[in-house]
């Protein structure tokens, strides 16, 4: 019977979405290997924990759909990657920074491409950042100071359910002791999403007209004239736009959060750039910040690790022996759809399920090495598939919240499966040995931070 061997993990971190809430209190049934309760979790977090179970019977590694030993699979994976001329490494947003570091090292050694789910999420915002910069903040500043909060093209009520309560709407802070009563909240979207009831004002913009509306706001902030047809173009009246400008200029600390309603639509990085530029402009009048609301638990960590190791946040290619960055060329959808890759290492991501069909079709025809905690469309078509431990539940490690704040994970219970970091470290060693048979000096560098013992061998 369960219930006797129970452990409580306090201050655990939920890695389901970019909110990375670190105040979970987990009740763990160690016999059943289940989390029976996740105090403080939102609806998504509760499902993340409740549905987590160990499929004891599942093989830790498979080659061409048949169970294999981890060592055999590591060897086959390394050979596959070294034999390829144009390998791509992709995914990485749902694993630890420690694993991400090993993945970049592999891409460096095999001179392949490496890209993360950022490219199909806030990649355009990353491009905009490189063009415009950004006035931004950690989420605690919004909680403590913001008296005006605007959500644009995002639906946190469903995608980041605790964003309102923990950080930005009802959260009470130093200069906002009454929470919601001390701030004005505005939602801008093409449809009346479930986030709208949390706001004081909803502004409905015509689909595909975010850029035009943002540019009109920028113009009015700078006291320029705008087209009298602005309502016809954007669906928002001049009076509404002017009133929003007045609110923005007169607040004490304003914050603009934006979602994929800007990045995934016509205009892409121009939309994100217009929004970031608007926040920057407003600093001539008051203090104003902006922040993309990032999706996956450690997509921000992926951006950070990529940036410090290669200088670029995503879409990197090492074929010349040093990192080069070019979104549209070295990003995964493009590489796959143009059939420019001949092998793929996919980590903690399922492109076979959510990429455009042309990209999926090419992926299905090349050897794929996959690491995931469950069976996915990608693992089903993989040549070598590893089943790994779930980060934040079965592994420790580091993740970065959407505002670049790094947080250490606490392991709730052990998994029989190895971690992503362990598998990637093992692949890296074999790749290095195959690539540089005469020189193993690089291995003298101590590996990653977490335990390196290959525990599946014990």
């Amino acid at each position: 019977m369960s219930g006797e061997n129970v452990k409580i993990v306090e201050n655990a971190t939920c890695t389901f979405c970019g909110c990375v809430c670190d105040d979970m209190v987990l009740t763990v049934d160690l016999d059943q290997k289940r989390i029976t309760k996740a105090k403080n979790a939102c609806i998504l977090g509760r499902a993340w924990y409740a549905e987590h179970y160990i499929e004891e019977d599942a093989p830790a590694a498979m080659i061409d759909g048949k169970p294999a030993s981890i060592d055999e699979a590591v060897e086959e994976a390394a050979k596959t990657l070294v034999d390829a001329k144009f390998p791509i490494t992709y995914g990485l947003s749902d694993t630890t920074c420690e694993a991400q570091k090993q993945a970049v090292a592999i891409a460096d050694i095999i001179k392949g491409s490496i890209d993360t789910t950022t490219s199909v999420c806030h990649g355009p915002s990353g491009i905009a950042f490189q063009g415009v910069g950004e006035s931004t903040m950690t989420l605690g500043e919004v909680k403590n100071r913001a008296d005006l909060v605007i959500y644009w093209g995002g639906n946190p009520a469903e995608s980041h359910p605790r964003h309102f309560g923990r950080y930005a709407v009802t959260a009470k802070g130093m200069f906002t002791p009454r929470g919601k009563k001390d701030r004005t909240v505005v939602v801008v979207d093409v449809r009346k999403t479930p986030s709208v009831p949390a706001a004081n004002q909803f502004i409905q913009v015509k689909p595909g007209k975010d850029f035009e509306l943002l540019w009109a706001l920028r113009a009015l902030v700078k006291n320029r004239k705008i087209s009298p047809n602005i309502e016809e173009i954007t669906g928002v009246s001049l009076e509404t736009i002017q009133a929003l400008v007045d609110k923005m200029k007169n607040c004490r600390y304003g914050a603009l959060f934006f979602g994929m309603g800007l990045t995934m639509t016509r205009g892409r990085h121009f939309n994100s750039g217009a929004l970031i530029a608007l926040a920057t402009d407003l600093n001539e009048y008051t203090h104003f910040v902006a922040k993309p609301v990032r999706g996956h638990g450690n997509v921000t960590g992926a951006d950070n690790v990529m940036s410090w190791q290669t200088g670029y946040p995503f879409g990197v290619n090492f074929s010349r022996g040093f990192p080069r960055f070019n979104p549209g060329e070295f990003t995964t959808v493009d590489l796959l759809a143009k059939k420019d890759v001949d092998a793929a290492l996919i980590i903690a991501s399922d492109p076979a399920s959510n990429f455009p069909q042309a990209a999926i079709d090419h992926l299905a025809g090349i050897p794929v090495v996959s690491l995931d905690t469950k069976a996915t469309m990608t693992s089903k078509l993989a040549h070598v598939a590893f089943r790994t431990a779930t980060y934040g539940i079965n592994t420790a490690g580091t993740v970065y919240r959407m505002d670049d704040v790094p947080i250490t994970l606490r392991k709730a219970f052990d998994s029989p499966f190895p971690t992503d970091e362990e598998i990637l470290t093992a692949i890296k060693k074999r790749v290095r040995a195959l690539k540089f048979p005469k020189n193993q000096a690089g291995d003298k560098v101590p590996p990653g931070r977490a335990s390196q013992k290959e525990h599946w061998k014990h």
Partner: protein, 546 residues
């Protein structure tokens, strides 16, 4: 894997042990310098070469949240300067904010073996340490930003000096920092909370925090000296970059009295003239004060012409500079503690202010009487990349070269300085002081910056050349912790380097005071804030002596 080595027949420059160019063999065993080795050493003939301790950078920005934002911001800067990998080393990119691997390797290729990141917010400490793990060869540590910490300021407002000291020590332990850093103390609240305004006068009290910058400065100097940290508070004064700011700098130094203090990038704080108008040089006043006060150390923060990146916890300053540049700009507020501003920048010879800044830096070097207390730095990458150090050394050592360079810059600026009258040339021994022995001593690193028995075997060997820029640009050998990293100008192996931090003592009950503040105003849990030991790679605790 360290080797037993004999560096034979070189001219040794070891100012801490009063050795100035003597021919002497140096023995290395177990990563340290020894009088006589216990085994037969591998002999390397270095005759005709200059042997120096590895360089020590006391003030640079190489790791952590703001550095990584600046990296992400500038693909155009990286693209022009790739850093290919080898079978031993990782690849990366350069530019004014290189990737972590390129940073470590490039410091090594200049003969630098230790570098201190000068500003990390406490909540970003974990990030900085993660980057350090990927910054090869050099030893490294960081200074933690506490000068705008709201909780600490509340303690000061309430006059709770004892608890203030314990809390400072707690923060240093919790973040694994080396010492405290103050940046524009008291300046964050007007920036974040009062529509981007700034503090001008160090005796001005903010109406929110109700303490003046001077009170903050005084309290930190007191606390850190009582804690006996190896390096005193590292201070970026108020009013950086503003005309007439030398007065603030003098007042800051006077606040220290005869207590130890380090003033960062003092060049940026040595400006005369009227606020809002073009600056003049006030280097004579600053140099005179520093010369006559042995409790003060400083680094110069020399401006070098060309590409730089402004990155500073002084967010208001970066915003002011954006007004000139109108280019991309980053501001990032950090809850309850800090923030930063970032701006790609370039210094140009023909611009009056830039030429004046360049000249003031050189004046400070040349007017300084005690090389042990003035450290060579460019405040990398603010005044320019650390890759400019060889050229800067030549400017100091070679009067004729300096004269030629002076001719190339804005003459109106030069005429407002003493530069044309200063004939001093630094000797190799003095260069060894301002780049190694001096900063090691100022940092309290007893095993670095010298080559006496027991010292860390961090050694650089240069071919002696007339052109000092060429000489310091490419050491023939670099030994790090006894490992021959560079041999005949080529990387022979990779090496991670050590992380340096301090562990000052404190009364653990201070946690009961910090925690409630945390629960109210931070957005992460108190128990997830401190950096645990699992983040330490090879590391060394430098002792405090209260």
């Amino acid at each position: 894997m360290t080797e037993c080595l004999q560096l034979a027949g070189g001219k040794v420059y070891d100012p801490a042990n009063n050795i100035d160019g003597d021919i002497k063999d140096i023995y290395i065993e177990q990563g340290r310098i020894v009088e006589t080795p216990s085994a037969t050493p591998r002999k390397i003939n270095v005759s005709g070469m200059a042997v120096m301790p590895g360089g020590v950078d006391i003030h640079c920005h190489i790791a952590g949240p703001k550095v990584n934002l600046a990296r992400k911001l500038q693909p155009e800067d990286h693209r022009l300067d790739p850093h290919p990998g080898t079978e031993q080393t990782r690849s990366g990119v350069g530019g004014s904010v290189p990737s972590t691997f390129a940073t470590g390797y490039r410091y090594a290729t200049l003969g630098y073996t230790t570098a201190m990141e000068a500003a990390v917010s406490p909540i970003g400490a974990r990030h900085a340490i993660e980057e350090f793990h990927d910054t090869p060869v050099i030893d490294k540590g960081f200074y933690v930003l506490l000068g705008n910490n709201i909780f600490l300021q509340q303690l000061l407002r309430e006059g709770r000096k004892e608890e203030f000291r314990h809390a400072v020590a707690w923060w240093i332990n919790a973040t694994k920092a080396y010492t405290t850093k103050l940046v524009n103390p008291g300046g964050d609240e007007p920036w974040k909370g009062k529509k981007n305004s700034r503090v001008g006068n160090i005796d001005e009290k903010s109406d929110v925090i109700e303490v003046s910058p001077r009170q903050v400065i005084d309290a930190f100097i007191g606390a850190v000296n009582e804690l006996g940290l190896p390096h005193p508070p590292h201070i970026h004064c108020n009013n950086l970059g503003h005309s007439g700011n030398f007065d603030t700098t003098l007042e800051t130094m006077k606040t220290a009295g005869d207590r130890r203090v380090h003033l960062a990038h003092i060049q940026f704080h040595s400006y005369g003239g009227e606020p809002g108008k073009n600056p003049k040089s006030a280097s004579r006043q600053i140099a005179e004060y520093v010369n006559s006060h042995p409790n003060i150390t400083c680094d110069v923060g020399q401006v070098m012409f060309g590409k730089s990146t402004i990155m500073t916890a002084d967010s208001a300053l970066a915003y002011t500079l954006r007004g000139f540049k109108k280019a991309k700009w980053v501001n990032a507020d950090t809850e309850c503690e800090s923030g930063c501003g970032i701006l790609p920048f370039s210094y140009q010879e023909h611009i009056y202010v830039h030429a004046l800044q360049w000249a003031i830096g050189l004046e400070l070097f040349l007017l300084s009487e005690d090389p042990w207390r003035i450290v060579l730095s460019t405040d990398h990458p603010n005044g320019g990349s650390f890759m400019n150090y060889p050229k800067l050394i030549r400017l100091l050592m070679d009067r004729e070269f300096r004269k030629e360079e002076i001719k190339r810059v804005n003459q109106k600026a030069v005429k407002r300085t003493l530069l044309n009258e200063l004939d001093r040339e630094y000797t190799l021994n003095e260069i060894a002081i301002i780049t190694r022995a001096g900063p090691a001593r100022a940092l309290g690193l007893k095993n670095k910056g010298h080559m006496g028995p027991g010292a860390d075997a961090d050694i650089t060997i240069y071919d002696e050349m007339e052109d000092k820029e060429a000489m310091f640009n490419a050491p023939r050998y670099v030994v790090k912790s006894g490992n021959l990293i560079i041999e005949n100008h080529e990387f022979r192996r990779d090496y991670t380097g050590k992380f340096l931090h301090t562990e000052p003592g404190y009364d653990a009950s201070i946690v009961d005071q910090v925690k409630p503040f945390f629960e109210n105003y931070y957005s992460i849990e108190f128990d997830n804030y401190a950096v645990d030991d699992s983040y330490l790679h090879d590391h060394e605790v430098i002792a405090s002596s209260p």
